[in-house]
């Protein structure tokens, strides 16, 4: 019985990575969510229904800065969202990816032509380089950045680059490239719970909960 | 679907594994072949270098092939060989560009090539066969 690199990448390595991913994510969330929650005894300004719905609404409204801030942060947000959109398009609409996810979830959905995905990948890759450039050149972001930021960037980039090389059959044989691509995904899954990639799970609850707390006071968000 | 007979069957053409383009238009393949031929001809003119293109190695659709044929047209020479099956060598309207077809004894096409040369190499008589022929003629009844 032989176990080649590809078999290892999508077999034992993927299984271990998914195990670490699932357990790690829940672990990390439970570890803080089960900490003390202070009950707010102050009289709310609005009904619970109202401030809860304001919170849910904020998931959408926080997607774009308030008009007053657009001049200062609009470009940064646009950059951020566009590469995220690119990443999601590649992840969710590329045939082989649908096949992969389908093999996990048991159902599939229509994708985009692979040529279109290649185009999106090229654009996303460029934007992603732009993100790094911005992180390194902006004094504020550079100061805030730590190993987590750079490593998370690197892992995501690795997945993109190996993915594109695999599709284009560049540099090595398909199965080697595919194995490297899947291994990089394994690495990403393993890293996921430990770093900032967790924001994928945080972003909507964070917007909703923080805004609901503010809305309880009648405060804008 | 309960019985084998219910499975729909469609025979696909054996001739054209490459699907014809839905728009019926010509691919860039023809242009590429023509420009390749042109540069091969230039080399033939300059250095007397002869060369070949195996048409079966190119991903040409039926339409592509017909387009290539009409682009190259027909020239002065048609040669027919009878050697382990029939073969034809046809000069196109571009001097030095030859269209070769080889068929096996059963008549099936076994090779199709473009040869860029003063004449197709296969037409020349072989020196050892010429020597054999000379010997054979010498030993011919009439000369003895």
């Amino acid at each position: 019985m032989t176990l080649d690199l590809l078999g290892f990448a999508r077999g034992p390595a993927l299984k271990a990575a998914l195990a670490i991913f699932c357990a790690g994510v829940v672990w990390r969330i439970a570890a803080f969510a089960l900490l003390r929650i202070r009950r707010d005894l102050n009289r709310p300004r609005t009904s619970m229904l109202k401030y809860m719905s304001m919170g849910v609404l904020a998931i959408g409204t926080r997607s774009w800065p308030h008009p007053q801030f657009v001049k200062r942060t609009g470009a940064g947000e646009a950059l951020g969202y566009s590469y995220h959109l690119g990443l999601f398009a590649i992840l969710l609409l590329f045939g082989p990816h649908i096949e992969f996810l389908g093999s996990l979830f048991g159902f599939t959905w229509p994708g985009l032509p692979s040529g279109v995905i290649t185009g999106i990948s090229a654009v996303t890759l460029t934007l992603f380089l732009g993100v790094l450039y911005r992180r390194v050149t902006s004094r504020v972001i550079r100061m805030l950045s730590n190993f987590d930021d750079y490593f998370s960037w690197f892992v995501t980039m690795l997945v993109m680059v190996t993915g594109m090389a695999t599709t284009a059959h560049l540099g090595a044989r398909y199965e080697t490239l595919l194995a490297l691509h899947i291994l990089s995904v394994d690495l990403l899954l393993v890293w996921f719970p430990f770093g900032k990639l967790m924001h994928a799970f945080y972003i909507f609850p964070s917007r909703a909960i923080n805004s609901a707390i503010l809305a309880r006071k009648g405060a804008p968000s | 679907m309960s019985r084998l007979g219910d499975i729909p069957i469609r025979i696909e053409s054996m001739e054209s594994p490459v699907p014809d383009r839905p728009d019926g238009g010509l691919g860039g393949a023809i242009d590429a072949v023509l420009s390749e031929i042109a540069s091969l001809l230039e080399r033939l003119a300059k250095n007397d270098e002869h060369s070949m293109i195996d048409l079966r190695s190119l991903p040409l659709s039926q339409a592509d092939r017909a387009a290539l044929q009409s682009a190259l047209g027909d020239g002065e020479v048609h040669a027919t060989l009878q050697a382990v099956g029939r073969s034809t060598a046809r000069e196109t309207r571009f001097a030095g560009v030859w269209w070769l077809e080889h068929r096996d004894p059963a008549g099936d096409l076994v090779a199709e090539l473009l040869e860029v040369a003063r004449f197709p190499q296969i037409l020349a008589s072989a020196p050892d066969e010429i020597a054999d022929a000379a010997k054979a003629l010498r030993s011919h009844r009439r000369l003895q």
Binding site: M1, T2, L3, D4, L6, R10, L14, K15, L18, A19, F21, C22, A23, V25, V26, W27, A30, A31, F32, A33, L34, L35, R38, R39, G95, F100, G102, S103, L104, F105, G106, T108, G111, P113, S114, G115, R173, Y174, E175, L178 | E12, M14, P19, M52, D54, S57, L81, V84, G85, S87, H102, V110, A111, L113, Q121, I122, A126, D128, E129, D132
Partner: protein, 373 residues
Amino acid sequence: MSASGPGLTVGEMLRKHGVSRRGFIKYCTATASALALPPWMGAAMAEQLRNAPRPSVVYLSFQECTGCFEAFTRSFSPTIEHLMFDIISLDYDDTLMAASGTAAESALASVMKEHFGRYVLIVDGSIPTGASGAYCTSGGRSAEVILREAAKGAAVILAVGTCSAFGGIPFADPNPTGAWPVSAIVGDRPIINVSGCPPIPEVITGTLLQYVTTGSLPDLDENRRPRAFYGNSIHDRCYRRPFYDEGKFAKTFDDEGARNGWCLYELGCKGPTTYNACATVKWNGGTSFPIESGHGCIGCSEPGFWDKGSFYTAQAAADFTKSGETRPLEVLEFAGATLTVGAVLGAGSAGVGRLRQHRSELDEVAQNDKGTP
């Protein structure tokens, strides 16, 4: 069963059979075209072969199904007859030869002695080593012993078929016979692997032809397969490739996509990871190949192909469940288990966090008064 007198070159042999030089050039051109070799190779091959001596070939069959040999005999160009009578001298083959028993044994011994260091050894089938080699014997000797002996005087060994090249089906988990590929037994002779289950007939004969023509080993890939035939993946040369690039996939074997001839990737086609000449040389004299007939490639020419999961699971699919084919239920169980582990660990962390947390008298106030409205 030597088919011709010894000592004649290929050219002499041909002329004896009344084949003209033009006929031979044409034949070689057609062969080169069928093997997807460069067109000038045809004429060059014809020129070289005419003056090349016809090598002696020994064909040994071990733990195999004779499928490879069946394929070998069905080569269209060069045909096996042509190959056998004109180009090589097939001096031992236990399936074809008329002789049997001691006569056959002594024929083999005499070829090995007479052509020592010059004959081509073709091996078909894997070599079982379990039970002291008792799973495959001939004349009271095990396959391993026969192979080792025959390998000593071979100029080159052609491991024909995935079994002899990579172990194939006998080698697959749990490998009850302790089977091994030729390369695991013979370490000191040049080996050319001609894999496939079976290999494409023209690839077997073509590789042989190429060796006879040039007298040297062809350019080999990392699996010791001739790059001329195994240099590209099926996927790279597949006529359905445009559909892959457009993202048009057949989802089942009888859907609209399948009828339209769309890419079979999602139906488990192993074309992207399989290196062979099926898409170019094709089968049955260039008639078709599995993908053209509507079935995905099963990757039979790759090492360990039998152990790489279901033929019908897409290449991109995850592959970590026992069944080989990932089933959502198994995934759910797996996710449930890991999520539970995570939740327990998280609750533990939070519990420890709460215990370690600094508390002030204010917390006590809030604690005591809790509940009173």
